[in-house]
Symmetry: C2
Subunit: 416 residues, 2 copies
């Protein structure tokens, strides 16, 4: 009865609608919401977080929402936004927190008016609407997508999101490109194809036809729902394990050819300087990489048992093993890997560690099924030269553990 009285009192004192900002701003103990029930009856509810058992909760919704206590965002710039890797559980990235990297913003596309044309060295050029694509046999696969420019360093106060937030993982659904290749009759002399997006940058990349036959997908589904606008709605190319920009979003044209098209994005960009004045072009594969996401900056830890957690992945196949060092790389122990371990997919690794309160460094490294082991930054510099470019940098990330439990990035000196 007393509780009941209090709720009525609250409803007379507070405004009837409370914004999320206000809720978060400290009014959480008392708030009132009016909800319309399915049968039209109005139900008054006190949203009292002190004892939720004393107040009827809100009704089921058409579309769910996050708790107002959950704050996890992508911190966008004008051209990209980074997944908050340190906030994630498991290996699926929530679709609305998938990283973004655009060359001309996110277009608003009416799926009724969007088509994919396939032409060039084919027997029979064809146009496909979204409805057409959905009539073909479909496939689903859980795989990561990573931008080849996914590396930042330089200061101690950097989060996993800032260092490596340009990678995300979804369950992608669509039609195999090989199915469409058979439909249009790709000619034997076709060795490359151009993939062109319908955004304002008209993003273009040349892709070897072999990848199209192997495992390319025209994806229209992402984590159970239609691909998000930021991810290429109504459909995108998806090239498992390859650098993100080749998985052209808002795909509208595929042209088959006997040679690469040498587009702006593959000549002026997405080409890396290496040793002796040479460059690497068409460096498609994402190399093996891992990062510890807990503990990481700005978290801090206490003495005792800690589950070190992180993500590991390779564009060249499955993760074979992940090792963790808790003594600055002197010795390494094998971490647990969460099943299922899928091809060209993020895996979640975990390693139980008892911290004794001493200063140290912790780090992880992956070995993929090709036998390749993630290098140190120094090894990358040695292999590629100090003039190396900013793409395909997959070094071991080390975290410093301070005596007081603070966790700080051990930054790399980019131009030593």
């Amino acid at each position: 009865m007393q509780e009941q009285d209090r709720i009525i009192e609250i409803s007379q004192t507070f405004p009837k609608t409370v914004s999320r900002r206000k809720l978060l701003g400290g009014m959480l103990t008392t708030a009132v919401a009016i909800t319309q029930s399915a049968n039209g009856q109005t139900i008054q509810k006190g949203l009292n977080d002190e004892d939720p058992t004393k107040v009827t909760g809100t009704l089921p919704a058409e579309v769910g929402t996050r708790s107002p206590f959950v704050k996890s965002v992508k911190k966008p710039s004008d051209i990209s936004s980074r997944s908050p890797l340190q906030d994630f559980y498991g290996f699926i990235t929530p679709s609305d927190l998938h990283f973004e990297r655009h060359h001309g913003g996110v277009p608003l596309i009416n799926p009724q008016k969007h088509e994919l044309i396939i032409h060039g060295l084919v027997e029979k050029p064809l146009k496909f609407s979204l409805a057409d694509l959905k009539r073909f046999p479909s496939v689903s696969r859980i795989a990561f997508l990573e931008c080849s420019g996914n590396f930042r360093t330089g200061k101690e106060t950097m989060t996993p999101q800032e260092i490596a937030g340009l990678t995300s993982q979804s369950e992608w659904t669509g039609v195999k490109l090989s199915t469409l290749f058979r439909e249009v009759g790709v000619k034997p002399q076709a060795k490359w194809f151009l993939a062109e997006g319908g955004d304002s940058a008209v993003m273009t990349r040349s892709i070897p036809v072999a990848k199209g036959w192997e495992d390319a997908i025209i994806a229209y589904g992402q984590n159970g729902e239609p691909v998000r606008p930021e991810q290429g709605f109504p459909f995108r190319l998806f090239l498992p394990g390859w650098e993100g920009n080749t998985s052209v979003k808002w795909l509208r044209r595929i042209e088959l050819s006997d040679e690469p098209f040498m587009t702006r994005e593959e000549t002026s960009k997405y080409t890396e300087a290496i040793k002796d004045g040479k460059i690497r072009m068409f460096s498609f594969d994402i190399d093996a990489r891992s990062i510890i996401t807990f503990p990481s900056y700005p978290q801090s830890i206490e003495k005792g048992w800690i589950e070190i957690k992180g993500l590991a992945w390779s564009g060249r196949g499955k993760v074979l093993k992940v090792e963790v060092s808790t003594n600055a790389g002197k010795t390494w122990q094998v971490a647990n890997i969460q099943e299922p371990v899928l091809d060209k997919a993020h895996v979640r690794f975990r390693y139980l560690w008892k911290w004794n309160g001493e200063e140290t460094e912790i780090m992880s490294r992956i070995t993929d099924e090709t036998g390749y082991t993630q290098p140190t930054f120094q090894q990358l510099v040695e292999a590629r030269g100090s003039e190396m470019g900013g793409y395909h940098l997959n070094p071991i990330t080390a975290w410093q553990i301070k005596k007081d439990g603070r966790v700080l990035l051990k930054p790399e000196n980019l131009r030593s």
Copy 2:
């Protein structure tokens, strides 16, 4: 230049903010949005869906949103909302479209104030905050959750959502209950535990301790993000393969005992009448089930090749095979199943069928790894008697294909 002029003209004619409803209502060809860029500069954009390559798209966002062209909702009642199975791809359910079934609404819970107490037949009763739970070793698994009351029939114009929308699938992350059992020292004489929720219904169920040791999880993560409020934020019990109500949401108390507690929800509800005046209590396992989600009502099909698609699952283990009949059950063919096939998880099945334009019925049936095959409704009636209750009904769902391509449910006569 002409395009540019048109955009400027549009920006002067139309209101500056356009609601989603208006966008959907037919103004789609022309709209204008003002977007604040990351550096504070205001950028004016014409969202022109006629040629998105002519207009700079919107900037990356903190949190993504669906396309305004995508409309997929749960159609809630006062106590539940159903997943739109017919709209899904793959096997992950978008978190905000996960079905809901509440006994006292969705509570607003401050995770800082919420605790789980474990007591009763234990050596050392303990309280755990969310932060405490996250310090323990964690696990992730992709598994379905289904309400035991997940069956509706009775008319031809029913969608998969209406028939069987009380099942959804997520990647769940949390701590094994067995880990906490060891921490509190569960006594050998403990055979059952009470799971109690912190909602206004104070939902309670009795669970055999064996399930707690086997594979129960206290889940705080769902599809990479914190468990949603509708799914038990900040954490819930998750019992893989068992009827949904036993996976108590907003979990706040576990009491170990030598016998079941005979709570209201397990005596007056979630107990089924069967033959000869008998009832089934503690009928935890979800039996094997499948449903074709395409083609289904209200879709219609055209003559020619059609990929029949659907979902299949079993609470007793893995899916062994899914069969499809396209001639009203006379003959059955094995469907393709999308890898990975996981324990107690939805799988996506697909079967390529050439429709000749004649009237027929299509249906699917699953056999799980225990050898159990999904029954017809008639077989369920024969096994349980015509007085059978409304829980754990997993019959084969048949769709009628009409000559004009319309697809209609073949409804079951519930009380024949």
